[in-house]
Amino acid sequence: MSGKHTGSRKAGLSNDDIGPETRLELYRLQVEIRDCEKRANDLFFQNLIKGTSHLSLGQEAIAAGVAMAMQPGDKSFCTYRGHAHTLARGVPMEQVLGELMLRDVGLMRGKGGSMHLTSVEHGVMGSYAIIGAHLPIACGSAWRAQYLGQKDVSVCFFGDGTTNIGAFHEALNFAAIWKLPVVFICENNLYMEYTPIGDVTAVEHPAADRASAYGLERIVVDGNDADVVYRTAQAAFVKARDGGGPSLIECMTYRHSGHSRADPAKYRPEGELEKWLERDPVKIYRERLREFGISEAEITAIDAESKRKVEAATELCKASPPAPAELLTTDVYADGGWSWRN
């Protein structure tokens, strides 16, 4: 973990550029994502989540830090590992869990599933399940903003493994030459599905060590520290909004669970998870709050409210029926139907 923006700890409350309000919000986001993801895991083992699902346990600081730096109207482009980013933009838990459970209450009423969470209302412009595909798409959204003189920034999240596919390369060059207001956030959790990223990548930092190939600055940060992520993202957004073009930010992190629901993650070397659990972003942030003098009561209240929300959302989802059968053939085409003939 080298590069820019790494140092984050402030000596004390003085000179705190973030402030207690934002900090509490950053904490709340991380806790709620953590609790909701844990619940998703439980629901899977209760066979209430079918298909697949990819958790962000351990990676919450990135979702929270970036989302906090975003403004309304900014656009998120996520992957199948997108629950966290969707929640972080303010999408209600029941709509996320509901989609995972493929119920009518879900964001897409079960038509999309866990890998495609979308809530345009909250700026979540889709979650994409083909590796790399959404990087060019985010460029297009940024191009639209530039073209229309709109001031929103498009943010694109992806993993370390994604840096080795062709679309990554095309998108980065494209964004750079057109100076697009897009911010690429690489969540380097050290693994593609089961293969360590170092085994299949020619450089140590799969994103940052390639930034120069697109004339961009090399940025690697501690992705488990929400403050660091928040500050780094903020700087990138300011640059993008000011016409300074794209940024590529590599956030070092670790997923606590397997790649997807069914993966016990046995391929990890012994002690690796334990090492990273010590750097658990939620734990780190709880300590940070204390460091900045936030009261235990405030912290506990957030924890409790989060648990309450998860319970309420779960009940709501369990009570939700599946979508009506007619939904099968709706919204293939813009007229709302699926007709390919007369």
Binding site: K111, G112, I130, W143, E170, G336, R341
Partner: protein, 329 residues
């Protein structure tokens, strides 16, 4: 009314739509300053400027991905994929992204864009620059697919495509770019999903697309003059939506169906239509449905071999006259 080439019709169509709607933008490789490698977009850069008509790197995935991202957030992009064969390097957007976005998001997002491609053979470009790829796109649910055969259809269908709220794949035929046709003055708008009966006839229905249309028409004249077979020739024009009403009505009248397809045989558009007719119009049929296609081979570069491969009027005449005479009717 003016005579216009198919090539110039492309530029005129795009200009018509860009003038109408400021949200229409156009991007592709060498399309702007150079006016396109087929010179089909000459003048657009000069007219609409570098903000709306943009040259890109050789990055087909970025081209289509950017078009999609812009489309889903408010623009109406037209993207060029120079040779249709190159759709293979950005097929993810064609197969997995454009056509599934609206469905997967339960209607939250749409993808109103047009992808133009230089499709088809006849230019001696060899196996990787000559393919007819209509079926690559027709088979994917959620797309619309058109392939005009004349300058006026280029303009009208392009206008319809740009105004459509769905992703439309617009297959231009390389070997038609130099063909001229009458085009009315003023704005032209056509309708997707409509086939055109170009020659009425009573003995057999011939379906054709793009470059095969003039060949089917020529064949029909010979069949009438030399074999006394009166063919109805239909330009399918739009593969999705498909104008099955026109096709089924024609077969109901003639009792016989032939397709003339430039694509290599397997899973061509004619197969789909044949299967529809063999189901829904089976009792109307007076004899076998016969598909006349390019053999199921890659295309050779050599002129005489390429000419042998693609269906042409003599081959169409030979096949139809033989089949119609051998009919057990």
């Amino acid at each position: 009314m003016a005579e216009l080439t198919y090539r110039d019709a492309v530029a005129r169509a795009i200009a018509q739509e860009m003038e109408r709607d400021e949200n229409v933008v156009f991007l592709g490789e060498d399309v702007a300053k150079a006016g396109g490698v087929f010179k089909s977009t000459v003048g657009l850069y000069e007219k609409f400027g570098p903000r709306r008509v943009r040259d890109t790197p050789i990055s087909e995935q970025a081209i289509l991905g950017a078009a999609m991202g812009a489309a889903m957030t408010g623009l109406r992009p037209i993207a060029e994929i120079m040779f249709a064969d190159f759709v293979a390097v950005c097929f993810d957007y064609i197969a997995n992204e454009f056509p599934k976005l609206r469905y997967m998001t339960n209607g939250q997002l749409g993808c109103p864009l047009v992808v133009r491609t230089g499709n088809g053979g006849g230019a001696r470009f060899g196996a990787q620059h000559s393919q007819s790829i209509e079926n690559w796109t027709m088979m994917i649910p959620g797309l619309k697919v058109v392939a005009p055969s004349s300058p006026v259809d280029v303009i009208g269908l392009m206008a319809a495509a740009v105004r459509d709220d769905n992703p439309v794949i617009f297959h231009e035929h390389k070997s038609l770019y130099a063909v001229k046709g009458e085009v009315p003055d003023g704005e032209i708008i056509d309708t997707l999903g409509t086939a055109k009966i170009l020659r009425p006839g009573k003995d057999a229905t011939i379906l054709a697309l793009a470059l095969m249309v003039p060949r089917a028409l020529a064949a029909a004249e010979t069949l009438a003059a030399e074999h006394g077979i009166d063919c109805e020739v239909i330009d399918v024009r739009s593969l999705v939506p498909l104008d099955t009403a026109t096709i089924l009505a024609s077969v109901a009248k003639t009792g016989r169906l032939f397709t003339v397809e430039e694509n290599p045989r397997l899973c061509g558009w004619g197969a789909e239509i044949a299967s529809i007719v063999a189901d829904e119009a089976f009792w109307d049929l007076d004899g076998p449905i016969v598909r006349i296609t390019t053999p199921h081979i890659p295309l050779p570069a050599a002129d005489h071999l390429e000419d042998l491969a693609l269906p042409n009027a003599p081959r169409i005449v030979e096949k139809i006259s033989r089949v119609m005479n051998g009919s057990k009717r």
